[in-house]
Symmetry: D2
Subunit: 315 residues, 4 copies
């Protein structure tokens, strides 16, 4: 996670300065504000700014429901109620801003979440840094044989070594040629005075998708929860999940009540279809239900049995 000197200085300055405010503050989040939390081999996640806390969710909900919510007097209970009944707008009242360094192929998944604000480093203006992601051995996984989008076991022995070598060599070579085409040295000076140098916006096309980029990414808590429900999920690609898991820790510091409700209702919760619910009710009534008379497809049956803990989840 190499930080530039400028970034290190910015982080140190941000962490040092303390100013008074009349806004809600969250001490546990202030503690890690500005700090670069490491992710993957060269990436990081930094909390740059935030707005609101658990109390801001409650405050907004009480405006909506007015005097009607006096009975649900406890904050935790109200937040659980909002999460359970998908009353999502109070969660929009909290906002957070991250500075993230991440591989381009991860950025391509991430950017699909549209309800957020983004400022990414532009490779039209700037020369990207020479840093690219290489999976650790335990993450160098084979294609799953059961699941078109999943991973199987880790590659081993010579195959693992060869794959890693190819990834490294190709990324390094392509970066070197990127510099050659730019005709720029590290300091941004022209290397060969006889060459014009290819435009940055063109030269970048030679880079590989594991090169790191950086951005500021700002969203509200409702949309962050949606992001996390997809990206902290076991079906998400490991590399973006690594970021999501660090973000989950951040959310736990920031809004512990909302985090607990989210963990219970979303991360740990399940959805049942009308057909699936009917099966559960029959089972609870002591009926013996078979796949054939369940009204479910075999695939849905297996998924339901896995959810109910009766079999392992299908691969």
């Amino acid at each position: 996670m190499p930080l530039t000197e400028e970034q290190q200085r910015e982080i140190a300055e941000g962490a040092a300065a303390q100013r008074p405010t009349r806004r809600p503050t969250v001490a546990a989040l202030e503690d890690i504000l500005h700090a670069a939390l490491p992710v993957l081999d060269h990436g990081f996640l930094r909390v740059i700014d935030y707005m609101g806390d658990d109390g801001a969710i409650v405050q907004a909900a009480r405006v909506s429901y007015g005097r009607g919510t006096r009975r649900v007097s406890e904050d935790a209970g109200l937040i659980r109620y909002l999460m359970r009944h998908r009353h999502t707008t109070p969660f929009e009242m909290c906002e957070i801003k991250f500075h993230v360094k991440l591989p381009i192929f991860v950025a391509r998944q991430w950017i699909r979440h549209r309800m957020a604000s983004v400022n990414e480093i532009s490779a039209r203006y700037s020369v990207l840094d020479r840093e690219f992601y290489l999976p650790a051995p335990q993450h160098l996984a084979a294609q799953s044989e059961l699941n078109r989008q999943g991973r199987g076991r880790s590659l081993e022995g010579q195959e693992a070594a060869e794959v890693l070598a190819l990834l490294r060599q190709d990324a390094e070579r392509n970066y070197r040629h990127y510099q050659d085409m730019l005709n720029e040295d590290e300091a941004g000076q022209r290397r060969d005075p006889a060459r014009a140098g290819l435009a940055r916006e063109l030269a970048r096309m030679n880079l590989t998708l594991n090169v790191y980029t950086q951005w500021y990414w700002k969203t509200d808590l409702h949309n962050l929860f949606h992001f996390l429900s997809l990206r902290a999920d076991a079906h998400a690609q490991y590399e973006i999940r690594a970021y999501a898991e660090v973000m989950l820790d951040v959310v736990k510091r920031w809004v512990p009540l909302a985090h607990a409700a989210f963990a219970d209702y979303r991360l740990g919760g399940v959805s049942l279809s009308a057909g699936g619910l009917a099966v559960v009710r029959r089972l609870l009534a002591g009926e013996a239900v078979t796949p054939a008379d369940s009204g479910l497809s075999m695939r849905e049956w297996r998924e339901l049995m896995a959810v109910l803990g009766r079999v392992k989840e299908p691969g």
Copy 2:
């Protein structure tokens, strides 16, 4: 601007508490944080929370443009550049949250701005307060004779008095009947034990559109500027413009550099069509251009001449 006791206590508490933060702060905005800024006869606007400052805009822009922006070293110049070239994403990096009390017919215009988060008091849960907007005499305007959506001069004498009396009497009577149908007294107790009382969600339909509602409204600076460019404009209805003008003052305290750029490029700026620009170029070249040979419609010609200060703006 009657505030409930609970609101007054909340405001006093919010204004009193000071906590340390490592986030950017804006002293001029902290000074008015939580305070209820009066608008119209019973409305208000309160800044509840904010994220970012002029520096946050610059910070995001410098991430995007990287080393490329070193030359535009001065913040004000960079912010003006962003505004001039409609590089809007850095302005999304600032966020603000308002508590607003406003008449329902104003809320109906306001809510059309979709890129914002809203929690409004729900008249399904709560009984709305007995407060409604009545225009001050100078705002009791006649329909414009020139413009289908505009106002003309103020009503005068007996007509003004009669209109105001109708507005007041109808709002009062409808609110009284709203209470009658609810069968609730001020303390929320049943008045007549023999009556069930109409459901709140139904009784509210008897209220007039000038009854006040309240909401929390949160948006980013880019979308706030869009709101203000439409609602602080001379063509906006006076009642929503009254809120927009108070918000403009808030923005000036919060992000003075961005406010100045917005005032110059958006509020005070104009757009010329290709045809309009061609006319300006011909005029500057000393040509005598007539409406007939301008290539513009009469309406566009009049609007252009008004913009260029050659005639008064058409009604």
Copy 3:
């Protein structure tokens, strides 16, 4: 459901004209295109235009998953898979446009759905029609005693008669005074030449919230499903649910496979929290679980038992 002559002509013309297209078409939806489907006492819903069909959802999903989806060869199965796993983007590939006439208090709930395009009749430009919603006797409900936002039984006898009379008289009187203030007759001519007439944008504030408005409303199928999951739900206010139910019928004609999946997974489905799922697993294992050792609050316990069909849903 009084339609203006102009609207009747437009509907007749739209229904009569047939043109060839190379786009996907849906015969069952074409059959009701343009027709005014009645809702409430004076409202309607018209399908004005649409884009896509069940096949368009499948087409988009197959682009995403490429060769990987060949195994899920059947369209219905693929659409069910997308719905079950909340792969929502393919549903965004279908779009529909409605013309709706609805009471203002319903419009105020409806407009909260932000991911849609809206053009509403403007009461700054136009004089609204003299039509307002009055509940049918069976919908004139008392406030629920159990639920802050719900309805109880219907009002009866004299109370019902008095409430209905108040609603009607107040709406009529306020509309009449609206016309008086405007100083306009039905044909838009000045009634009293000695009066200027209040501006339309002001006079409208005297109208009650049950006056009808109209708009064009356009959204995609994913966002329409979100709307319907909230507004066709038993907890939605009856008046907006009346529109949602007509829309459900429209969706069934338009995209029958997607409609069936939505009915099974969303409308008829339920969500269980991690805690709720643990209780279900213990019950299935034959354990006797009590509220006290369930780990759930009493409220959550009652909601869960209702979902599982063990008790009636709490009020």
Copy 4:
């Protein structure tokens, strides 16, 4: 622009089928529906579906303004009025869906436009095709010396040849290694039975940013105009502008009146700041204005003089 056999069959089928509809149709757009319009060396743009026409814009505007718009009786005049006064919602009533094949680095710029629906081929599920963008000689441009994000003259001679060779060799090698790591042949069969094959979601990281991807992209006309105002602009990178220019032709076929208004007011129009407008007024009044007494910065002065045709645009 190699199309797969499946795509060619789909295009042929789509173009052949004609069905009757009661929706608005646009003959000039139907003529090119489904056809693959070539862009760059291997890319294309296909119109897959559309909703609405110029009449749909007018229809929505007339609902908004009601009887008030009878005077602006002509459609072209009304559409020009909407565009001039930035009444944008009626333009949202038209929708279009494209199938696009484009290099990944172009897709990364494109996806920044958030108000659209996207289904992209997933390299987690599918193996990407072996196709990558190589600039034609006239587009192999040097970095601009004046502008941090611009292009200068084309590279020439040996430098051009070397750059092109590097781009080609690196893309080819990286794709070959991508296949090696996957351990799959063209038919998707395992090549070396002794190797497991790297997961697709990992192997893709070895690809270069000029590899082609594909997506379905659907947006409304308002947001499409916003896209085109930025991407058909002279400051946009050539490669995305190539797509924008083909889209402009499509828009001209689809909604010729809206296209003409857009060309006049947006593409060919300019914005003046308050300060810039003041200078124009002084010049028109015959004053001699110098940069020093203009109140503008030198940069703004030069940009204004370029707009007014008094000097060439600054680089």
